[in-house]
Symmetry: C2
Subunit: 154 residues, 2 copies
């Protein structure tokens, strides 16, 4: 349901959210276990929508385009593979137009629910989940003991 | 988010739900506005999962595999393009296994919500939405006045 692209974009963003300095595509690729070429394209899209910021130069690389407390899952998803709500009849029936039939209303209701869930969840919310709520889990990416009270991203 | 395949499968099933006799691929294709070759593959999958039943012979074609009051959106979707819940860590981290991190827990929560919505909605539920709730809409497929109290599928 959620594509590989969405999964990779979210991994990259969650990883970057805890980094102080910019990280190169190669660095991100290793830690998030994403093929570097694939990741480069994902980062390009994230950059276009200012979800991440790219800096050139010796200590260049990618960092978050805004604070993790402001950046939502929704923004990340919409940057790489937008969820499109059903606004008009997919059959293009003249009599339907923007009045959806019961089937498409139901499908759009499900999309609306996803939108609400993702808009309500910031990257900071994800990072703030206490370690005790995810037992045996040193999320994400590197298998090290989690720090007290939160998830290890190191 | 929901693919063309899912959309086409649901159109076919909703259409068949109000037909007394079996309908050929060609008949379904015309009414649901789906390319016949594409529809044939979709119907094949629906048939494999007994969502529809195919009958050979002079009056052969497709009909629903079970009553519209028993058939859910979920079953239709799972037959053609299954929504896969996140049961294990997508990064295959040894320490995660079936304990999901906060990110994957959030994504799976969204999938769970879709599953619930679709499991709770039968094809009969869709057909039962009163016409007055979908104004200007003679859903689906053919632009004719709706019958009193329900949606026209004719």
């Amino acid at each position: 349901m959620f594509s590989q692209t969405v999964e990779y974009a979210l991994r990259a963003v969650v990883y970057l959210a805890e980094q102080v300095d910019a990280r190169t595509t190669q660095q991100i690729a290793v830690v998030t276990k994403v093929p570097a070429a694939y990741l480069a394209k994902v980062l390009q899209n994230l950059s276009r929508f200012e979800v991440v910021r790219s800096q050139r130069g010796l200590h260049g690389g990618f960092s978050l385009g805004k604070s993790a407390t402001e950046l939502t899952i929704w923004e990340v998803v919409q940057a790489v593979e937008p969820i499109r709500r059903i606004r008009e009849c997919p059959l293009e029936l003249e009599s339907h137009r923007t009045k959806l039939c019961a089937l498409h209303r139901k499908l759009d209701d499900a999309l609306a629910e996803i939108e609400r869930t993702f808009r309500d969840c910031t990257i900071a919310d994800i990072l703030a989940v206490p370690f005790s709520d995810t037992p045996d889990c040193s999320f994400p990416f590197v298998e090290e003991p989690a720090r007290e009270g939160r998830i290890s991203l190191k």
